[in-house]
């Protein structure tokens, strides 16, 4: 079993004093990140289309020591309509990572508004067909995607169903810790109930896991690792560097179960 722990994103100003020094230049952040973690979930790719040159530069900076999970661009997951052209473009940008075997997964995170409708099922199927040969992971926020047929469909395609940790609020996808691919994927969004619906993408993830909660996360990760060759764990509670602090704690806790 291989457990890889990292964070969702790395380029945050409020991580100064936590992961980066006060004088660390922005261009040096990724290098420092790679010295501390073995995997990273790239999330700038959600906001803007990645290009091959940019990705190649990241591989160079991290000297092949960092694996990347790449969050699919919003035009693929949050916009209805024809996605094929953009999907092909996005996939092309990941070629370098794939060739160097540094691509952990392509993460498709669908919003709460992505309901279980025939159109959306077709949308998902189209995406998974295009990205078929790459390791893919799907995260649903809406609880309508919890049918046995969805799970068995992902299993047939070897697509990971994202395990998540988020506030216990009605309507949100159930907590899944299942094996549908040869790797497991856990995203930790924090348990901030108060600002989950009303907050923005900073306040929603403003949460610091307690030591007891980290212990529970470790148990879930160990369970996932029993049936998956690789498990990728990403802390998305990035505000004030909480993701980094929590990831370090989890790394420490899981040291004993790592080979």
């Amino acid at each position: 079993m291989n457990i890889h722990i990292g964070t969702s994103g790395f380029d945050y100003d409020d991580w100064s004093g936590v992961l980066y020094g006060p004088d660390t230049k922005r261009k040096d952040r990724l290098k420092i990140y790679a010295q501390n973690f073995s995997t990273l979930e790239l999330n700038y790719t959600y906001y803007s289309m990645p290009d091959e040159r940019n990705i190649a530069a990241m591989i160079e900076v991290t000297e092949g020591n960092l694996s990347f999970s790449v969050k699919a661009n919003k035009v693929l997951t949050h916009t209805p309509g024809n996605i094929e052209e953009n999907a092909v473009l996005f996939k092309k940008a990941l070629q370098g990572l794939s060739e160097k075997r540094l691509l952990s997964a392509v993460l498709f995170q669908f919003p709460y508004s992505f309901h279980y409708t025939p159109e959306n099922r077709k949308h998902l199927s189209t995406l998974l067909n295009i990205f078929g040969e790459l390791p893919c992971c799907v995260e649903f926020r809406n609880d309508e995607w919890s049918g046995q047929s969805v799970i068995s469909g992902l299993r047939k395609r070897g697509v990971a169903l994202c395990s998540t940790d988020m506030p216990d609020l009605p309507g949100l996808s159930p907590g899944f810790d299942l094996q549908t691919a040869d790797f497991g994927y856990l995203r930790l969004h924090g348990r901030n109930r108060d600002s989950w619906w009303s907050g923005d993408n900073v306040t929603r993830y403003d949460y610091n896991y307690t030591d007891r909660e980290i212990e529970s996360v470790a148990v879930r990760v160990s369970n996932l690792a029993l049936k998956n060759d690789n498990v990728f764990v990403f802390f998305n509670n990035h505000r004030k560097g909480n993701a980094v602090k929590n990831a370090f704690k989890l790394q420490e806790r899981l040291k004993s179960v790592q080979p």
Partner: protein, 390 residues
């Protein structure tokens, strides 16, 4: 306080225990069955055997034709009992409120324990880990606000994993699940619903009460409510249900004939009756649950006007139930479960003015119990029970 139920179901319980006690079986195709019997059926199997098309209930003869090197492992009821005890102890650490089935299936009410164990998903993950670490068995776990939803979640998680359904999300979670996953709905009801285009629980939840009764009878409303996420059934914990005494026999021979089934029933009445008398109890109610080889389950119960104490009294009631069930359904029986309830703690007394044959039966029962206590359950049995296939 919100109710949170955890359903744990150990996958391939008997096969898992076989591997745990003999690691040479790991990764090999094998089935659990009585090797000595020509009519034996597959009771459980390894995932490797499953991959090659062997299924539960298949005859061992046929299974051996599919995989000639197939290993046949006899059932180990003692080990199963031990494993169930260990799982029961593990569950007891998390909550005192447990409804225990058998073969690694149970419900735990963890409501109000979050300060101790964390959220529902955290607690469930810990239970899975403890079972794995203690007896090397994999479990499917579901958590939800009710027994039904948690049980369905654990079925969806099969063969290994965890699904935690959030409070308020029950209806959405159930809507896309196939109807046969609903506890109590077997192939016959599923087929009947499928004919009218009802294949998913959401579709069942959406029909009118009138339509539901027309399709499934008055009992169908219960399924419709459950498909909508409405289920208020409490846990039948040892404390809540007063001690009910239960025994099961898994048939390895699939008795088709009523006579053969009666022999097995007498055997189970003897085992359950002995347990009851050991506790100085007598029962007023006899319930019988019959699982057929096609997956359908039928049950019935009868109440007596007076306390039932001897094996033959219990058998009399149980046989009436079995006879009725077998009249309606002639399929092979796989599991018989007998429950004695409405127990009375007052020790049974033979009425003063009673027929001498009743007194003789009472004395015979006491003598048999005495021998069983000293020399084991199989040291003495009624001739009919001895004739029951092993």
């Amino acid at each position: 306080m919100k109710t949170t139920i955890v359903r744990v179901s150990v996958s391939s319980f008997a096969a898992g225990i076989a591997v745990a006690s003999d690691t040479s079986l790991k990764g090999k195709p094998f089935v659990i069955s009585s090797a000595s019997n020509l009519r034996a059926v597959v009771l459980d199997l390894s995932s490797e055997a499953q991959k090659d098309g062997i299924t539960k209930g298949m005859s061992v003869k046929k299974a051996s034709r599919i995989i000639p090197s197939l290993r046949i492992i006899p059932p180990s009821p003692e080990l199963y009992k031990k494993a169930d005890h260990i799982i029961s102890d593990i569950s007891g650490k998390f909550s005192p409120s447990i409804e225990f089935g058998s073969h690694g299936r149970f419900f735990i009410d963890i409501s109000g324990t979050s300060k101790l164990w964390g959220s529902a998903i955290d607690t469930a993950a810990k239970i899975m880990t403890e079972i794995r670490n203690s007896i090397y068995l994999d479990a499917c776990v579901g958590t939800a606000s009710s027994k039904t939803v948690s049980e369905i979640a654990s079925s969806v998680a099969h063969p290994y994993g965890l699904i935690s359904v959030r409070h308020g999300s029950e209806k959405h979670f159930l809507a896309p699940q196939p109807v046969p996953l609903m506890p109590g709905i077997g192939p016959v009801i599923s087929e009947r619903l499928s004919i009218v285009g009802i294949n998913l629980m959401g579709e069942l939840a959406g029909i009118s009460d009138r339509h539901c009764i027309k399709l499934l009878g008055s009992g169908g409303i219960k399924f419709k409510e459950k498909a909508s996420g409405i289920d208020t059934e409490p846990l039948f914990t040892e404390h809540a249900r007063k001690p009910s005494i239960r025994s099961s026999i898994i048939n390895q021979t699939d008795p088709e004939s009523l006579e053969e089934a009666m022999m097995i029933l007498l055997r189970i009445c003897e085992d359950t009756g002995f347990q009851m008398r050991e506790l100085d109890l007598s029962a007023m109610k006899v319930s019988l649950n019959v699982a057929f080889s096609d997956g359908l389950v039928r049950s019935g119960s009868l109440e007596s006007t007076g306390p039932l104490w001897s094996d033959m009294e219990i058998f009399h009631f149980a046989s009436l139930i079995l006879r009725k069930i077998k009249e309606e359904k002639r399929t092979k029986i796989r599991i018989l479960t007998l429950d004695l309830s409405k127990l009375s703690t007052s020790h049974y007394q033979v009425p003063l003015f009673t027929h001498p044959s009743v007194k003789a039966e009472h004395r015979l029962q006491e003598t048999m119990d005495h021998l069983k206590k000293r020399f084991g359950m199989d040291s003495v049995r009624k001739a009919l029970a001895f004739a029951a296939p092993e």
